[in-house]
């Protein structure tokens, strides 16, 4: 009896040590995941002269909002880029969801004659792609979309991988509901909008989030197709400003002008990812759910 109690106690102590180790390690790894962000935020609130003297710190040195004031003196470009990114994300996601889910719905219908060939048609694009060069020539020369906001939207409208996940969602709808709707005389369009879409709402939400993230974080299409600063999306503006602030700081003629080159650069980054970070915290759990759908059933 006594030995049993002792071993239980020992066991509990051992398991406590184990748990402490686990929490310690995971906490540390979690911290490492967010430290770069903390560093950037702290630099953006730091005094430029202190930065030059002491380097970047994980806490603001000589707390000041001067970098933000400096950037926001001329907010036109930032607001414009926010606008571009916002329009591209909203319009792009709406269009992409509509087109992709229609395609996925057709692919999921077991009575559809051409579903197999359609699936192969979609699937093949995952295996093989023409790559950057033909796409560039197509969009700029043949579609004439250079410096057109559509170039930031249309290439991502149908992402085959997302279509396949949506198809899995539609395919899991119970047949009885669809059959009874058909017997009641509902056409495919009506079934799609009034029955199928509400049924796959969770999958739709997840794929919607994927599209939002893709459009919001995109710099690639702008890198290829946008030269006009009026159409810079946020991520691309950030890239351009990194280069430009660099050149300003390196230029000896501007030494007398107080340009907060270090802190302003980081403040720009904070302004760009701040709202995204906030929405990340809101939707994070849906994302986790979506990833598991995509990875295990896709």
């Amino acid at each position: 009896m006594t030995t049993k109690i002792r071993s239980a106690k020992q066991y509990r102590f051992k398991s406590f040590l184990g748990k402490a180790f686990l929490h310690g390690t995971l906490g540390l790894i979690g911290l490492l995941a967010v430290i770069p962000m903390i560093l950037i935020v702290s630099v953006s609130f730091s005094n430029e002269i202190e930065l030059a003297k002491n380097g970047y710190k994980l806490w603001p040195v000589g707390f000041t909002t001067f970098a933000y004031e400096y950037i926001l003196q001329k907010p036109e470009q930032i607001l414009r880029s926010y606008g571009v990114t916002f329009i591209v994300t909203a319009a792009g996601t709406a269009l992409a969801l509509l087109v992709s889910s229609l395609l996925a719905y057709a692919m999921s219908r077991k009575t559809f004659r051409h579903r197999n060939i359609l699936s192969i048609y979609v699937f093949f694009t995952l295996l093989f792609s023409g790559g950057m060069v033909p796409s560039y020539i197509l969009v700029t020369r043949y579609l004439g979309l250079k410096d057109n906001i559509l170039a930031l939207i249309l290439p991502y409208t149908v992402i085959a991988w997302y279509v396949l996940i949506l198809r899995t969602g539609f395919a899991q709808m119970p047949d009885e509901i669809l059959d009874s709707a058909r017997i009641d005389g509902a056409g495919e369009w009506r079934i799609f909008f009034q029955i199928a879409l509400p049924l796959v709402k969770p999958v739709l939400a997840v794929i919607g989030l994927f599209y939002v993230l893709r459009y919001w974080n995109d710099w690639f299409l702008a890198l290829l197709y946008i030269d006009d600063s009026k159409l810079y999306p946020l991520q691309y503006l950030l890239y351009v400003l990194m280069q430009n602030i660099n050149t300003l700081a390196a230029n000896p003629q501007t030494v007398n002008v107080p340009i907060p080159s270090q802190s302003a650069r980081m403040a720009m980054a904070v302004l760009a990812f701040g709202p995204a970070l906030f929405s990340f915290l809101l939707v994070q759990k849906y994302f986790v759910r979506g990833l598991t759908i995509g990875a295990l059933k896709g």
Binding site: L22, H23, L26, I40, G55, L103, V133, W189, A269, F280
Partner: protein, 329 residues
């Protein structure tokens, strides 16, 4: 009605006009016909988008065999056979970008798989604790950050004058390093950056696989007095082995495609670092946009697409051998 009459009627019904027969073959008859047409209409926008943005570029790969001139267009440009490839493979670039792409991607696969697995196993042990969600959120955060912003993060550490790394090096009495001029450090920097961004994603995938294991196995093992360590070794790892193998093989399938954002923004497109950071994708981009050498870009792009296809097919064949239900095709 005699039997011949019935036979004739059936014969008549069986032999519609040729056009009707083609129609019926393609779209079915009666209600099925209407439904097929409607479903095709629904799928049409998606089909068109894929045709334009996925299939036309595949056809466009033929420019690798042409001397592309903007004014002449794709069809009007001269065929030059393998000239572009002779040019591409005649430079040292090809070897460099191939080596960097393969080496870095291999490093990424190994480091991220092992890291994600270990973190998933740890998260699984503390899953019921309330802080577990907190860890997951922190780990997952980098997944949402674009590579442009990641390049700012990395710059915060590696900036030669002010960066955190050099402060730490000097604090322990070492010399500072001008990171953006020292290509020898970049494989490890890129690996750590990629690890930082991808490990949250990877560990959540593995965690989902671990949680799908029936708890009965663990209950039985605990009754038999198996330690945690033993449970992990004898239950968890063998049961998620198919998931691990499949995910690894899929990444091997894409080993010829580098993550453009990582290799372009994080080293800040610094020529001095190209020897270790230049990969096929960044090389294609530079040839195309910065150098305007479309022919060389096209040849490199073609080379990548073809080897990429072979790798995917090969990886799929291997997946099929491991678990045919998980094969992509």
């Amino acid at each position: 009605m005699t039997s011949t009459q019935t036979h004739l009627l059936a014969e008549n019904r069986k032999r519609p006009s040729l056009l009707m027969r083609i129609r019926n073959k393609l779209f079915g008859t009666g209600h099925s016909f209407r439904s097929t047409i409607t479903l095709l209409t629904m799928a049409l926008p998606g089909i068109l988008f894929l045709f334009v943005f996925a299939y036309l570029p595949m056809i466009g790969l033929v420019i690798a065999f042409k001397d592309y001139r903007f004014a002449d267009g794709l069809l009007g440009s001269q065929w030059v056979g393998l000239d572009n490839f002779n040019f591409l493979f005649g430079t040292d670039n090809t070897w460099r970008i191939t080596r960097n792409t393969l080496m870095m991607n291999s490093l990424f696969i190994v480091s991220n798989t092992i890291g994600s697995l270990i973190i998933a196993l740890m998260l699984n042990e503390v899953y019921r604790s309330w802080v577990s969600k907190f860890y997951q959120t922190m780990l997952f955060f980098p997944f949402f950050v674009s590579w442009v912003i990641v390049s700012f993060f990395v710059f915060g550490f590696l900036n030669a004058n002010n960066g955190l790394m050099n402060q730490m090096l000097m604090a322990v009495g070492l010399d500072r390093v001008i990171w953006y001029r020292s290509p020898e450090f970049w494989p490890i920097i890129l690996m750590l950056t990629n690890f930082w961004k991808g490990v949250g994603f990877g560990s959540i995938i593995y965690l989902a696989a671990i949680m799908a294991i029936s708890p009965e196995y663990y209950e039985a093992a605990m009754i038999d007095g198996a330690s945690k360590w033993r449970q992990i070794r004898s239950i968890t790892l063998p049961l998620i082995r198919p998931t691990i193998i499949i995910l690894v093989l899929l990444s091997i399938g894409h080993i010829f495609n580098a993550d453009f954002g990582l290799f372009f923004f994080v080293p800040r497109n610094t020529p001095m670092l190209y020897s270790t950071t230049d990969v096929i994708d960044t090389f294609v981009y530079r040839s195309l946009i910065e150098l305007g050498n479309i022919s060389m870009a096209a040849a490199a792009s073609f080379y990548q697409s073809m080897v990429g296809l072979i790798m995917v097919v090969l990886a799929n064949w291997l997946v099929r051998r491991v678990d045919s239900s998980e094969a992509l095709f």
